[in-house]
């Protein structure tokens, strides 16, 4: 059998196999300890289904890892080997921005956080026309907030936390 390099899909299978192992370990060895005695006479335990799943998961990740199912290398929309040629920085920038948004949504309030997200997002993607960016971001934020809170009637704190102190 020829030796083949670990391609990305086999690396992924390897990681998934690790997840299945962890999951299986919990299901087989940790879960039944706290089981009430009357439950133990049941034909089905909370761990029965997870045990089965862990076996199937391990089996299939094994097949992928050792390339037992032959497949032609398919290059999808994006070839990961040429990742550095793509706009990786922008993608990472947007992900960081999303995390920041998640962290600041409550303290800054919906309006400030969202408007900054939209404006900074456009900035990260290379837009520099502030005169368009800012009005678009601000107006869109107000429209969405109006729709969500007035039409769909879901409350979202619009303003930063400090404005709500004392109330």
């Amino acid at each position: 059998m020829e030796v083949r390099a670990l391609t990305l899909d086999r690396w992924t299978a390897f990681i998934l196999m690790g997840i299945c192992l962890l999951y299986g370990y919990t299901a087989w060895f940790n879960m039944d300890a706290g089981l009430a005695p009357f439950m133990q006479r049941n034909p089905i335990w909370p761990s029965t289904f997870p045990k089965l799943l862990s076996l199937i998961g391990l089996f299939t990740s094994f097949i992928i890892l050792f390339g037992l199912e032959r497949s032609e290398p398919v290059i999808g929309d994006i070839d990961y080997r040429r990742l550095h040629e793509y706009k990786l920085g922008q993608a990472i920038g947007m992900l960081v921005l999303m995390v920041l948004y998640a962290l600041t949504l409550k303290p800054l309030g919906f309006l400030v956080a969202t408007a900054s997200f939209l404006i900074l997002g456009a900035y990260i993607l290379g837009e520099r026309k502030w005169i368009i960016m800012i009005p678009v971001g601000v107006i869109a934020t107000f429209c969405v907030w109006y729709l969500v809170s007035e039409v769909l009637e879901i409350y979202m704190r619009p303003l930063p936390l400090i404005f709500k102190l004392g109330s």
Partner: protein, 504 residues
């Protein structure tokens, strides 16, 4: 049945529902036109809106409208730009784009709209005939059969994943099922796999996962590799008329493909993409010699076939969802998740217990198709303007809507962090060519699968239900064949190939 239809008609024709259908179709067309955003992302983004409407019938009608609109929008960008927004409309670009290059964009759009309309409408008629039949059979099913049926559905989805992809699809399904076991289930009162984290007590949010699996990776891909979205000016789209001789030549194609597409759509795992490719190939094979050469170079038959088939298949995919409660595709899985969130459990009882939901959805399919034909077609030159919105503005908005969707559902900022984390994982899986739809389908079906499995285990005091109920056994054998067959055939083909090579 007639009574149910009348109730459905009454519900679907109310002003509110008409607005919902029209709005859904327009939004779907709008977003579906953007290359790279598939119907699953669009529906995932729309779910919070649908759920907060509170009315299950309205929610399902909205999402179904968005679904048709997205497919229609996808075919528009296939025809105008050769950039299919949706996998189901790739085949449309084979003949649609050459027609645009020949200056017949308007005609191509009209043919696409008429074919979609006919495919969707004939599909809805077939759905009306077959769904009640199937649900009366399904009423005989017990939990053991349901368990087996879900296994068949999941296996079929894996089996249709393509050569060399079956084990990946099975693995993804399994991971989805594993994720469904996280949290406190209904059957056992013990929290499982929460790792002591309180936020995981109620399990992963389905909307968060749907966004992370589809909308976020698609948006990231759009950032990573900007596609050239050509300018479409109004002048390009004119002369929407088609002649009656053209109509006569595509009529038989539409008739055949509506039926074929519908039945492919009913099969779990097949769906609009396979239906459209198969429709195009079948029509090319049975066309006359001189017409055959036209296929791929701007044949109107080659355009009508995939357009009819993909719409009929979309309608067909509602059959297993509405009658068995088992989704056959990623899109219907998301719809199922939305219904469960609204406390409606689709299945054979849906037609009896809540006829207004069942029938109003079917009636709204006719209305939706009509809306697409009479409202969206004339508006296409204006809707196509969305393609000229710069990506720098578009992408932050798409990302913001995914965030908003996950947040509205749970009102919890932790959910947003989970969304980003899962989104990164999903993008990595997409790089490695792991299919993501099976994961979500597994996740959504996981709870029901385990419930039915546990119930049968309790009733039969062990796994005896597998051989004591012939129907269960039969279904499980079908599931096994579905998984093994493609592998065995690939193996045999390789062996034959090797022998030929040796003989040379």
């Amino acid at each position: 049945m007639l009574e149910g239809m009348l109730i459905g008609l009454q519900t679907a024709l109310s002003i509110k529902m008409l607005i919902v259908v029209i709005g859904g179709c327009l939004i779907g067309t709008f977003i579906g036109m953007l290359p790279g955003l598939g119907p699953m992302s669009i529906i995932a983004i729309m779910i919070p809106v649908a759920i907060s409407m509170g009315d299950p019938a309205a929610a399902l009608i909205l999402l179904a409208g968005v679904y048709y609109g997205a497919i229609f929008g996808g075919s528009t960008s296939s025809i105008l730009l050769n950039a299919p927004g949706v996998a189901g409309t790739v085949a449309t670009s084979f003949d649609g784009y050459p027609m645009t290059r020949q200056g017949k964009a308007g005609k191509a759009l009209t043919i696409a709209a008429i074919s979609s309309f006919c495919g969707g409408t004939i599909g809805a008629i077939l759905l009306m005939i077959f769904a009640p039949m199937l649900s009366s059979v399904a009423l005989l099913f017990h939990s053991a059969e349901y368990f087996a049926l879900m296994i068949v559905g999941l296996s079929a989805i894996a089996a249709f994943a393509g050569t060399g992809q079956v084990s990946k699809a099975v693995l993804m399904t399994t991971i989805g099922l594993m994720m469904a076991t996280v949290g406190q289930g209904a059957l056992f009162n013990t929290p499982r796999f929460t790792m002591g984290i309180m936020d995981l007590q109620s399990g992963f949010g389905f909307i968060t996962l749907a966004m992370a699996m589809f909308a976020l990776p698609e948006a990231l891909f759009l950032i990573l590799r900007p596609r050239n979205i050509a300018e479409v000016s109004n002048g390009d789209i004119k002369n929407l008329r088609i002649s009656s001789s053209e109509m006569r030549s595509i009529a038989p194609v539409i008739g055949r493909q509506s039926i074929q597409g519908f039945f492919i759509g009913v099969l779990p795992g097949a769906g609009a993409t396979i239906a459209s490719f198969l429709g195009w190939a079948v029509e090319r094979n049975i066309a006359k010699k001189e017409e055959q050469d036209q296929f791929g170079k701007g044949s109107i038959k080659g355009l009508a076939a995939p357009e009819t088939a993909n719409n009929a298949a979309c309608t067909g995919s509602f059959v297993p969802l509405l009658t068995l409660g088992i989704p056959g595709s990623g899109t219907t899985a998301i719809l199922l998740g939305a219904l469960i969130a609204l406390n409606v459990s689709p299945g054979p009882r849906l037609m009896l217990d809540e006829p207004q939901i069942f029938w109003s959805v079917i009636i709204s399919m006719y209305i939706g198709n009509l809306v697409l034909l009479v409202l969206n077609l004339p508006l296409i030159p204006y809707i196509a303007k969305v393609l000229s919105v710069p990506r720098n503005y578009l992408i932050p908005f798409i990302m913001f809507f995914t965030l908003m969707g996950a947040y509205i559902g749970q009102n919890n900022a932790t959910e947003l962090l989970l969304l980003v984390a899962f989104g990164i994982c999903a993008t990595a899986l997409k790089f490695a060519n792991f299919p993501l739809a099976p994961l979500l389908i597994g996740f959504i079906l996981g709870g029901m699968l385990e419930d039915n499995f546990s119930r049968s285990m309790q009733l039969y005091d062990g796994v005896a239900f597998i051989w004591e109920r012939p129907m269960t056994l039969g279904l499980l054998i079908i599931a096994a064949i579905l998984i093994v067959l493609p592998r065995w055939r690939a193996h045999r083909a390789r062996n034959q190939h090797a022998e030929v090579a040796d003989g040379d």
